[in-house]
Symmetry: C2
Subunit: 194 residues, 2 copies
Amino acid sequence: MAQSTGDEGPDLTLGLTAAMYVVLGMIHLGARSGYEIKRTVDQSIRFFWTISPVQVYPSLRQLEQAGYITGRAEPQGRRPRRVYEITTAGVTALRRWLLQAQPMPFELRDIGMVKLFFADALQPSQAHELLDAVRERSAQLLVTLEAIRQQAEATKAQGNLFPLLTLEMGLAFHQAIMAACDNFETQLPKRAHV
Amino acid sequence: MAQSTGDEGPDLTLGLTAAMYVVLGMIHLGARSGYEIKRTVDQSIRFFWTISPVQVYPSLRQLEQAGYITGRAEPQGRRPRRVYEITTAGVTALRRWLLQAQPMPFELRDIGMVKLFFADALQPSQAHELLDAVRERSAQLLVTLEAIRQQAEATKAQGNLFPLLTLEMGLAFHQAIMAACDNFETQLPKRAHV
DNA sequence: GGTAACATGTAAGCGGTTACATGATTAG
DNA sequence: CTAATCATGTAACCGCTTACATGTTACC
């Protein structure tokens, strides 16, 4: 489809999903196999993006088909494995996407926040519990993020500064949530002892 | 599909999606029509949840079928309109959902952050632009949120304290983002004049 | 008289999750 | 020897978005 009319290419360009650009970006940062991409995503952008293996491998094929990456088999022993490198066309496509002044709508989707929003439907003691749950969740995430920090700083040492920035935004976010929880708790009617 | 094998049970109870609970919760807070629910969502939880009319109306039917809300026609003039009220069963279901110690996984999905994460692929001046775009986005949202604040405080006066809390979390979040952007900008190599 | 807001839908498609499936290698 | 990790998939489903469709009332 989208036959090359002469001057250019299969307009996969338009059809690339955000997930594919994530894959492309991770390869650009040095991830080699699909497995490594998935792992890297989990260990870096995990709080504002996720990806599943089921998305990764088809994305790799499409990116290769588009000429943005090149893959070659590199099995380890008898275990099959395919590693990829980004092409100059791929780098161009990545940069174009990054610069694209698309709406970038801010869309979070967090059930925890939704529940908190409706917490007035609960009895005070139960609302407290919910508040604690949300607070605890952020506390947990802070621990996880701190663990990632080591890696982000190593990345920085290699010349990539922005991963550390986004990590720090994540940290700041959850610290803000916890602070808001703490502050709010003082305003709530005292919890009847359960 | 899913033919009734005799004992009844369109076990909608189990199948309720988060979106349906959002609709239920909004009715509990006083929203009456589908249209009003959609509008209320946009004006309250809009930064951590969205909903479209296409979801609202089917949700209302399913909630009514489940006995969680009751609806009646209340046209305004010749314009059709259906208004709903939550039932005691509905309140129970809402509370049960709020208390459900489900994983509450924290899942954001923000392309802006992703782009920022990959910004090292750009030239410094372009990375600056992206940083500014993300910063500006949060600045805009802060304005929107401040506008909502009036309403959240009115809601608080009516006895619902939590909407203001979640609003303040949104504010704190975007303030944190902006602060991180500002802080980071000082660490970046000076932008070559474009 | 026209635009914005009110009010409710249908149809199609797709991105993404869940569940399932397979096998090799390494570490304890 | 067993479990964890590495490594890559298929099939089915579904919630949600997008695009489209329709008509009314209120406001300037």
